[in-house]
């Protein structure tokens, strides 16, 4: 057939395909479909979010719901996460379990989700000015305060420290920095030499720290905003022959860090379990949908990991036992 006819035929074909397709989708929508929870993470590169995903999947399996993991293709990208929220509102899942890449910039999009009637459970990074069923997280400020205090006590309240920050715009980084500052106020004998961001990632943190090591020949301790950076820093210290003289602390409790603590390369870290947070968050969402009581806020207890108790924490997210919903909910103050 000639080109003109071909074009007409294909136009006709695609129009009928469209019509058929739309009709079939609508029919499918009427039939019963399983509960779907859209589970948001900040990126697919940081292992912390993999831990979250595993915890969420365990909860979804237990409760018999469908879990869809949603992450931006460009890690931590604000504009992309905004688009993801908007696109997912169109898909109308039964609930959002959500962590914002930027807790302020994502407010308008979550407000749109509120307007669309989708219940939102917020975890890990607290958001304000939006309606959430519940917030599940750990208090970052308290965590860093506890870790820093533990460190300062072990230093006898005297010494020079360096702070390696996370992503400056992240609420976790800002809160942890505040916790460190609070601890510093209470220990005037501790001197903060400098605070530089390591972007929560190992290679940038190692590069920054290697140069800082040159600038400050004497560092008694390094407070790192997360474990990924802390382990890199500990290795850099060891490579430079300064391992024994400098204590390194982190936050998160990732396997590499627990191994480093057991080996004596790192001093301490805190258990910041995305796995637990995500597990409880999915539970909260599904229980809300099933009209069961859900606390407005769930704050996970702070546990400091050091050489004494490291063995209990040296588990991968897959091996880790899930927290008990009932016990955790009961422990909350309402």
């Amino acid at each position: 057939m000639d080109r003109r006819t071909f074009l007409k035929v294909s136009l006709a074909a695609s129009t009928s395909a469209t019509a058929l397709g739309t009709a079939s989708q609508q029919a499918f929508a009427q039939a019963g479909k399983p509960v779907t929870v859209a589970f948001f993470v900040k990126n697919v590169t940081n292992p912390f979010w993999k831990g979250c995903r595993i915890g969420a999947e365990k909860a979804a399996k237990e409760l018999g719901v469908n879990l869809e993991v949603v992450a931006p293709t460009k890690p931590d990208n604000i504009e992309e996460q905004t688009r993801l929220v908007e696109d997912w509102i169109v898909k109308k899942p039964d609930a959002f379990v959500f962590v914002p890449v930027d807790y302020k910039a994502l407010v308008p999009s979550i407000q749109k989700a509120n307007k669309a009637g989708i219940p939102v459970v917020n975890y890990n990074n607290r958001m304000t000015d939006v309606d959430v069923v519940s917030y599940i997280g750990s208090d970052d400020e308290k965590i860093e305060y506890e870790v820093a205090t533990y460190l300062f006590k072990s230093m006898g309240g005297k010494g020079k420290i360096v702070h390696i920050d996370g992503v400056p715009a992240a609420s976790t980084a800002q809160a942890r920095k505040k916790g460190l500052e609070r601890a510093l106020k209470e220990y005037p004998g501790i001197e903060l030499l400098t605070s530089q961001p390591g972007q929560y990632r190992r290679l940038p943190a190692v590069q920054v720290f290697e140069n800082l090591m040159q600038r400050y020949p004497e560092i008694d301790a390094v407070v790192s905003a997360n474990d990924d950076m802390a382990v890199g820093i500990a290795e850099a210290l060891a490579a430079a022959g300064r391992g024994g003289k400098t204590k390194v602390t982190g936050v998160d409790g990732i396997p590499d860090a627990t191994a480093a603590i057991a080996a004596g390369k790192m001093f301490a870290t805190a258990d910041f379990s995305g796995h637990d947070q995500a597990y409880l968050a999915v539970h909260a969402a599904v229980r809300y949908l099933r009209k069961q009581p859900v606390p407005k806020e769930i704050e996970l207890p702070i546990v400091i990991i050091d050489k004494q108790n490291v063995a209990t924490f040296a588990k991968t997210p897959e091996e880790r036992t899930v927290p008990s919903w009932d016990k955790t909910a009961a422990a909350q103050k309402g």
Partner: protein, 324 residues
């Protein structure tokens, strides 16, 4: 066949067929995706979703329109992404500090124009390669934006700022009006003014212009200034969308804009192309992303798919170019 005996120009040629043949890869991509998505996802072909896509693409389109002019002059502007962040940050900081909105808007446009002026001067007068110059201003703009906010976002903007994104005029959202207005102005500039003719000439025939003694520099510089101004305008919409300004919000935008322009049929060499294609290209990028989300494609695969699609669309164009 009788046709071979006739002069080609006397053969009746279907105007639509010509349009279809000349249409850039993005057009087919868009059409294909439209069909696939409408068939496979219930949510795609709805007013709500399509409005979403149009709004999502507004910022990209406006920046890409400026980028089209740059690429038409055989140039490239990598600094538009951080420029967006910087303009957004500057405008919101001023608004929070109590300056009137008009001052903040003017300041942002001024910054965009100034950076464009820097780019244009180094490229047109000093003869430096556009890739390098705009890479340099990329870094500079990024730094200034980040230092202004300490890496954090700017929040607690007054409510009226959200009009740039949420406002509706005659049932059409403001960003779509803005895109249409920018398109109209750019169209007039490009096709109806001396400036536009110079833009094409700088891209296609720069040596001839120089030998003829024409002072092209000012038009060449103006192209980059224009791109900067458009980016500033886009920054208002972006800031309003997030209700916050962030220094890194434009990261990657310049590459998306370049992809939209190339997909839309404007080529890096010889100054071929135009802005109508850019709109199709930007829509194609937007629909692709939206479609992948609606189809529930895993993030990891989305990243790879975007790469394959861009390469294929441009590749098909080049291959078709051989036959024409």
């Amino acid at each position: 066949m009788a046709e071979t005996a006739l002069h080609p120009q006397l053969i009746q040629r279907s105007a639509t067929l010509d349009l279809v043949k000349k249409a850039p890869g993005a057009f087919y991509l868009l059409a294909l995706m439209g069909v696939v998505l409408t068939t496979w996802t219930p949510g795609f072909f709805t007013a709500a979703n399509l409005t979403n896509v149009a709004l999502q693409v507004a910022v990209l389109t406006i920046v890409a329109l400026g980028m089209t002019l740059v690429i038409l002059t055989e140039g490239i502007d990598l600094s538009l992404g951080p420029m967006l962040g910087l303009c957004g940050v500057a405008a919101s900081l001023m608004v929070i500090a109590g300056y009137p909105l008009i001052a903040a808007v003017a300041a942002a446009i001024g910054i965009g124009a100034a950076l464009g002026l820097l780019n244009g001067s180094l490229i047109a007068v000093a003869g430096m390669p556009p890739f390098i110059v705009t890479l340099g201003t990329f870094g500079i703009a990024q730094s200034i934006a980040t230092v202004l906010t300490g890496g954090d976002s700017v929040v607690r903007l007054p409510g009226y700022y959200r009009w740039f994104n949420d406002g509706i005029f005659l049932a059409i959202p403001v960003p779509i009006w803005a895109t249409a207005a920018v398109f109209a102005v750019t169209w007039i500039l490009l096709y109806q003014t001396k400036f536009g003719r110079y833009v094409f000439a700088i891209g296609g025939n720069r040596q001839a212009l120089k030998l003829a003694g024409t002072r092209v520099s000012r038009y060449h510089i103006a192209v980059y200034v224009y791109a900067g101004v458009l980016t500033a305008i886009a920054s208002f919409i972006m800031t309003a969308r997030m209700n916050a300004a962030h220094p890194t919000i434009g990261v990657g935008l310049e590459f998306d804009a370049i992809a939209a322009v190339i997909l839309g049929g404007t080529s890096f060499e010889k100054g071929h192309g135009g802005i109508a294609g850019t709109i199709v290209g930007a829509l194609a990028v937007g629909v692709l992303r939206n479609g992948l989300n609606l189809l529930g494609v895993g993030t990891e695969w989305q990243v790879a798919i975007v790469g394959v699609v861009i390469i294929t669309a441009v590749g098909l164009d080049s291959i078709r170019g051989l036959n024409l």
